[in-house]
Point group: D2
Chain length 439, copies 4
C-alpha cells in the first residue's frame, strides 16, 4: 500500500485521432498551437483532489465501491501523505499542469483549529516539494466550510457568530497556504450559505453577513500580497434548498451590493449552471459580458436527473460552445478548467480514473479546436456584427447618446416607422456550428 | 350582444364560511379589519384585462372555446367598446377596487403608431368615465411590446434601433395614458427581451440597450410628473428561451448595473417564480430584503408542467406564506394583487370567470387571515429573533464593525472555539404554520 | 447510553385543535370514527426504522449532525439492540400501530450471508418480544438490496448471476422473518434495478431477470404461506440514472408482461411520484384505477429540488386529495401510511423526531377529515357522475358494446352530429375542495 | 401568389463535407450504402405538413411572423390547393422520399363532418396525382382530434359519447384516405386524451373508452385491408396537464391491458421523450426491447425549457445514440424519421425552411454514419456481451430455468458466495462513442 499506485499505467501521451491505445490522448496535444497559443495554455486543466483522491464511491444509498488503497486505515496524517503520493503520481502520469484542493481533502481535521491548521501546513510543505519536483502547479485552493457539523447552518451566514469566526479563521489559513503554494486563484463555494426553510431565516441579515465575510477575505488577500484571483462559485441548491450564490446573475447582484464586483470573479461550474436552469454557455456568456469570468469547473450533469451528478465532460457540442465564448472573451486568464467530476460508482477500477480524465481532456481539446475553427471562419461573428448594424447608424447612436422618449416618439410618428422582422437564422447558424465541429 | 353580459350574476357579496351560494365570498370580506387595516387595503386586488376579457380559450394546439360574445366580429373600436362594457360590468359585480391592462388589450392596433395611439386615447376617455362612475381604479397599465411581429427579436433589445424607437414611442403614450387614468403603477414585462439562441446574440450590447430604455422611462416618468411606481416583472423564459429579467436576483443585478435600483421596483408573479426554480415566497422575500417589492401578479403554475399555466391561486398554504412575508415587510404600498390568471380552456361558461375570481379572492383572504394569525401569535418571529441572538452580542458586533480575518483567527485559536449546531426546528415551525392556517 | 432515550417526552396524546402543548396531537385522534371507521384504521400509520433510527444526519456534502446516542460505537449486535430499544420506546410514546424495516437496518451485515441471516434472526426474536409487549405491529419488512457494493450494478438485474442468487437468498430470509413477525406486507424497492448508462446495458435481458426474480418471490410467498401483500415501490431514478420501476404505469406494464399483475401491488411514495413528474394524487388514482394500490410511503419532496428530499408531509392540501382517492377507492386494505421521511440535517435535537411525526400525523388526519367532508357533501362525485351521463345513454352503451367505426360514422353523418364543449368547472371544483379543507 | 414558391432554391444536392454552398447536403447522401442499405432506406425521412406548411409563426404571446404566401386569404379549398403546391415543390426540391399530414392540415373543416370529409377526399385526389408525379410517398396520415373546440375534453376519452362517435367517424375517413394514398403507417396522437384536473375525471372509465377506440381502429384497419402500421405517439402533457399516453412504458401498459400490444406500435418523438423525463435513446431502447418501435418524430427540445419546443435536430451526439439503438434493433421497418420540427418564430425567411431541413437531415446522416462506425468496430457490443457472460453459465441458466429462492439460498450459503463489483466502464465507453462520432 504505497506508491506507485498506478503501476500498470505509464505517462499518457498524445497519439493522434487514429490511436488504438485507450490510455492515450487523441486530441489533447498540449503543445499544439491553436490561435497563437499552446493548447495547454488555453485550457489550463486541473485535476481535483476531492472526487479523484478522497471519494471512495459512496452515495446516499450505498457504501464505498472504488479501489482506493491509499484511503485505507484511519484519517491520519500518514494516510494523507499516501494520498498525496497517489495524487502526484496521477497528476504527473496524466500530464496536467494543475490541481485543486480543499484544506480538508489534503489533511485531517484536528481537535482544534490550531491542530487542523498544523496538519494542513505540514502536508502543504510536503506538497510544495512535490510541486517543485514535478512542475505541477496549484490552480486554486479552497477551505471546506460545509462538511463539518458546525457548518450545518452555514459558515458566514450562520446564525451563530462563533461559526462565522471559525470560518474566517479557516479561510485565513487556507488562503495563506494557497498563497505559499503559488496558487493562481482562491475559490469560495458557499455550500451551506443558503437556507433549508425561510421559516427560520433572516434573508437580509444573512446577506449582510456574507457581504462582510467576502470583504474580510478581500482585505486579507491584499494584506498578505496574494495576487491570485478570488472566485465565488455559483450553485442554486444542494445541499441547501436554496443557495444564495444561485447563479452568475445572483452573484453579480450580491457583488455589486457589497461593492465587491471589482474584487471577486466567478468560477462557473457546468452542472451548477444546468441545475440553475441555464446552459453552461449562458453562464459563461453572462460572466464574460459583465467582466466576471474567472475559471471553470468542468463536468456535466444528467439532463434527466435533478442533482449534481458531476460527470466527466463528454459532449464536444457543449465544450465547443463554451470555448467559443471563452476564447472570444479573451480566455481564462489566471483561471483554468478544473475537473470537478467524479467517476460513476460502478467505475470501480483504479484505471477508470485515467479513462475518465483522458476522455474529458479530449472533449475539451476537441471543443477548443472546433471553437478555433468557428473563430477562424468568422461566420458567426460576421452574422452577429451585421445583425446589429443599425446601432452603428445615426438612429442607434442617437438613442444611446441622449434621445428622449419624446424624441423617439416624434421620430416614429413623423416617419410612420414600421420595422419588419428580419430572420435570426437560428437553424442556419446551428448548422455552421455543426460544420465546425465535424471539420 | 351588448351589456349586460353577465345578466344571471348579481353583485358578489361576502356571505361567510358557511354560505351555500357558490356566487358568494366565504372569506373575502373587504371591510373586515385585519391587523389594523381593511382586507381590501391589504390585498388591493385587480382583475386583468388580457386573460379575462381578451382571451377566447386558444392554446397552441387548438381553437377558441370560451363563450365571449363581446369578442365577436372584427378587432374594431366598436368591439373594444363592447369589451370595455363587459369588463366594467364584471369589475363592478365582483367588487374589486382595481384592474390592469395592456394598451393593445383595450384598443386595436392601427396601421401607424399615431393611429394606434389615437385608438388607445379614445378608449381611455371612455374608460375614465367608467372608472369615475364605478369607483374602480387602475392598478397599473403596460404597453404590449411582444405580440406584434416587429417585436419578434425584442423591443428595447432588438438588433434594429427602429424597433427600440417604436417601443419607446409606444411606452411613452401608454405611460401618459396610465398617468391620466390615475394608475398606481406602470409595469414593464420584457416578454421578448431575451434570446432564442446565443449564436446570434450580443449579450452585452442588448443589456446596454435595455439599461438605456429603462433610464428613458424613468426620465419620462419624472418629466410628466407621474408619481406611480415603475415595475419590472421577472420571468425566466417563454416565449424566449432565456429572458434577461430571469428572476428577482437577475433584475436586481441589472438595476444596480444601470443605476436604476432606486427608481424601479419588481412585480413578482407566482408562476414566473416557480418557472425560475424558486418558490413564490422566495421571490417575495428576496425582493423585500432588497427594498424592491412593488406588486404581485397572482396566479399559480402546475408543479408538473414547465410552462406558464397561469392558473387561479387556490393554495392557501402558498398564499399564507406569501402574505406573511408581505405584511411583515410593510405591505404592498402602491402595489396590489393582480389576477394574471386564466381560465382552463374547458371552463367555457361565462360564469366560470366569476367562480375563478371568487376562489382566488377567497384564497388570498384566507392567506391573509392565516398570516395575521402567525404574526399575532409571534412564534415564528420569536424563533427567528432568538436564533440570531449571538449577532447582537459582543462577537457579532465586533465582526460587523471591523474585526479582520486575523483578529477572528486569534479569537478562535485562543479560545479553542468549537461551536456546535443548534436545531433549526424546521419540522416544528412547519407545524406552527399549519396550525395558523387551520386556526 | 441506554433506554429511555426520550426521557423528557411522555406519551403523545390527542389534545384537540386548541392545545398549546407542542408535544400533542391536534387532529390525529386515533379512535375518532370517520366514515364508519376508526381514524387509525383508515391511516394505519407506521414509523420507518431507517431514517428515524439509523440515519445520523449525513448528506453527500457533510458529516453526521443528529443526536442519536444509540448509534454510538461499532455496528455490533449490541448497538442494534440499543437501537431496537430506542425504536420501540419511540413507537410506543408516539402511539403508532406499525413500523417498517430493512433487514440491514435492524441487524449488522456479517462476513457471510449465513452470519448476516443469523444476526437478523436474533434481533427479530427480540423484536417479536417487543411487539408483543407493546402491541406495535409490522406494516412491512424489506431486504436492503442496494447499499452493499455487491449490488452496485443491481440485484436481480445484475450482470452477475451470483449477485442475483445472493439477493434471492437475502429476500428469502427477510420474507420469512417478515412472515414470522406477522408483517402485513412485504416491499420490494429496486434501488439499483436500473441503469447508469445504456451503453453497458441490455435492457431486455435485465427486464427478464427482474421478471424471474419477482416470480420466485411470489412462489416463495405461497410456499411459506405468507398471506401479506407483495409490493413494488416505483421510483424514477436516484441512485440510478433510470430505475426500471419508474412510476406506477411502468410497473403496471412490467407486471402484465411477466403475468404478475394479480400477485403484486404498489407501494406509492409521494416524493417518488413527484420526481417522476406526477402528482401524488395521480399515482394513487392510476394505481386504484388498475386495482394495484397496496400501501403508501408518506413524505413530500421539495418542488424546487430534483432529488428525494423525503421531508415529512405537511401539506393538508396534498393529503386531502390523496385521502379522497384512497377512501373512495376502498381504503388501503393491508397497507398503511409509512413515514419514509427524514429530519432535515439541522434538526439535530432528539425531540425533533417527535415534532416531525406529530406534524405528519396531524397532516394525514386533517387530510382524512377533509376527504371525509368531500365525500359527505358529495359535490365532486355528483359532478363527475353527471359529466359522463351520456355514457349511460343509448349511444354510450352502443359504443362500448359493439358499434364499429363505420356505424359511428353513419351516425355522425346521418345526424350531422356537432357536439359542443361543456364547462369542466375546474376552478369551481377547486373551490369546493378548498371549502372542505377549511370546513 | 402561386407556385413556384421557392423560386430562388434549386434541388438540394449532396456536395460533401467540404461544400461551401449552404443549400447543399454535406452528409446526407441518400444512395450511399451504409451497413448494406441505402442511407435513405435507413432513415426514410419525411417532412411534416403542419409545422412546415400550416404554421405561420404564432406563439401564445404573439402573431404570425413567417413569410408564407400560400396561407394568404381564407381557409378555403383554393388556399389548400396552393399549400399543396408549396408542399410538393418543397418535398421535391429537398429530395425527401416521404411526407406526413393531419386531415385538417390539408383541407378545411366544413360545417359538417360530411363536408369536411369531402374536402379531404378532394384534396387527397389532387395529392395522389402529385405523389405519382414526384415519387414522394406518404409515411403516415393522422386525424386531428385536438384543435376543434368539440375535442376540448378529449376525443375517445370525452365525457360525451357523441364526441367519441365524431372522432371515430373522422378517424375512419382519414384511415381510408391514408390507405388510398399508400401510407406506410397511420398515427394516433391523443393530444387531449388526458386530464386537466383529476377533480372532474373518471380515470378508469376514460381508459376503457380509449381502449375501445383503439380496438375499433384495429378492426377497421383489418376490414379495409390497410397493411400499414398503427402507431400511438406518447407524450406526457401539453396541452393537457397529464396525457394518458405519457411515455413508452405507459402506452405499453395500456396496450397490454386492452390486448392491443400485437396490433399497435409506437411513434417515438424526441421532445416528448425529454418532456417525460427520459432520454430519446431510452424511449427507443424501451420500445425496441418490447417489440414496439414503429417510427420516430425527429426534433429536439430545449434542455432549459419545459414545453414542446419542437426544434430541428442538430445534435449528432443524440442522433448517434438513437441510430445505434435503431440499427442494432433491426431498423425502422415501415417507419421513418418525420421532421415534426418547427422553425423558430424569428426564422422568418422562406429559405429558412430549407436550411432547417438540411441541417436536420445532415444531423441524422452523421448520426447514422457514427452509429455504423460503432457497430463496425463492435466495441460496445462486445463489452455488453462479456458483461453478462455469467448468465450463459451454469448458474445463470439454472436461475432462468427453475431454481427456487430456497435453491439459491442453499447455493449462496453452501459456497459462501460473496460477489464483488466489476467496473461498468461508463467513462471509457463514452469515449468509445465520442471516437466513433469524430471518426
Amino acid at each position: 500500500m504505497s506508491a506507485p499506485f498506478f503501476d500498470n499505467v505509464d505517462r499518457i501521451d498524445y497519439e493522434g485521432p487514429e490511436a488504438v491505445n485507450p490510455l492515450a490522448f487523441r486530441y489533447y496535444d498540449k503543445d499544439r498551437e491553436v490561435l497563437g497559443r499552446r493548447m495547454e495554455d488555453h485550457l489550463r486543466p486541473a485535476v481535483c483532489y476531492w472526487h479523484s483522491f478522497n471519494a471512495p464511491g459512496l452515495d446516499m444509498f450505498g457504501a464505498a465501491t472504488l479501489d482506493r488503497p491509499w484511503l485505507a486505515g484511519s484519517d491520519s496524517r500518514e494516510a494523507c501523505e499516501r494520498k498525496l503520493d497517489a495524487a502526484f503520481e496521477f497528476f504527473e502520469k496524466l500530464g496536467v499542469p494543475f490541481f485543486c484542493f480543499h484544506d480538508r481533502d489534503i489533511a485531517p481535521e484536528g481537535t482544534t483549529l490550531a491542530e487542523s491548521n498544523d496538519h494542513v501546513s505540514r502536508i502543504a510543505d510536503r506538497m510544495a516539494g512535490r510541486m517543485e519536483a514535478t512542475g505541477v502547479g496549484l490552480l486554486w485552493g479552497t477551505a471546506n466550510l460545509f462538511s463539518h457539523p458546525r457548518y450545518a447552518a452555514g459558515a458566514a451566514t450562520n446564525p451563530d457568530p462563533e461559526v462565522f469566526a471559525y470560518a474566517a479563521a479557516q479561510v485565513k489559513h487556507c488562503l495563506e497556504v494557497t498563497h505559499r503554494l503559488g496558487g493562481a486563484n482562491y475559490v469560495l463555494w458557499g455550500g451551506r450559505e443558503g437556507y433549508d426553510t425561510l421559516l427560520n431565516t433572516d434573508l437580509r441579515r444573512e446577506a449582510d453577513q456574507l457581504g462582510r465575510f467576502m470583504s474580510l477575505v478581500v482585505e486579507h488577500k491584499a494584506k498578505i500580497g496574494f495576487d491570485g484571483v478570488l472566485l465565488i462559485e455559483p450553485k442554486p441548491h444542494e445541499p441547501t434548498k436554496h443557495q444564495y450564490d444561485h447563479d452568475a446573475a445572483a452573484v453579480h447582484a450580491f457583488l455589486q451590493q457589497y461593492d465587491l464586483d471589482r474584487s471577486i470573479k466567478l468560477n462557473i461550474e457546468v452542472n451548477h449552471a444546468t441545475l440553475a436552469g441555464h446552459s453552461f454557455q449562458h453562464e459563461l456568456a453572462y460572466a464574460i459580458a459583465n467582466g466576471l469570468l474567472g475559471s471553470v469547473d468542468a463536468n456535466r450533469g444528467d439532463p434527466q436527473n435533478g442533482w449534481d451528478t458531476d460527470q466527466f465532460p463528454n459532449s464536444v457540442e457543449e465544450t465547443t460552445l463554451a470555448l467559443y465564448e471563452i476564447v472570444r472573451g479573451g480566455g481564462l486568464g489566471a483561471g483554468g478548467f478544473n475537473f470537478d467530476a467524479k467517476l460513476r460508482r460502478q467505475s470501480v477500477s483504479r484505471d477508470d480514473l485515467f479513462h475518465a480524465h483522458i476522455g474529458g481532456l479530449d472533449a475539451l481539446a476537441q471543443g477548443l479546436l472546433s471553437a478555433a475553427a468557428l473563430i477562424d471562419n468568422g461566420k458567426l461573428a460576421a452574422f452577429v456584427e451585421s445583425r446589429y448594424d443599425g446601432w452603428r447608424g445615426a438612429l442607434g447612436r442617437r438613442i444611446l447618446d441622449g434621445a428622449s422618449l419624446a424624441d423617439l416618439s416624434d421620430h416614429v410618428v413623423a416617419n410612420a416607422v414600421d420595422p419588419a422582422p428580419v430572420s435570426g437564422r437560428q437553424e442556419l447558424l446551428e448548422t455552421v456550428v455543426n460544420r465546425a465541429i465535424r471539420r
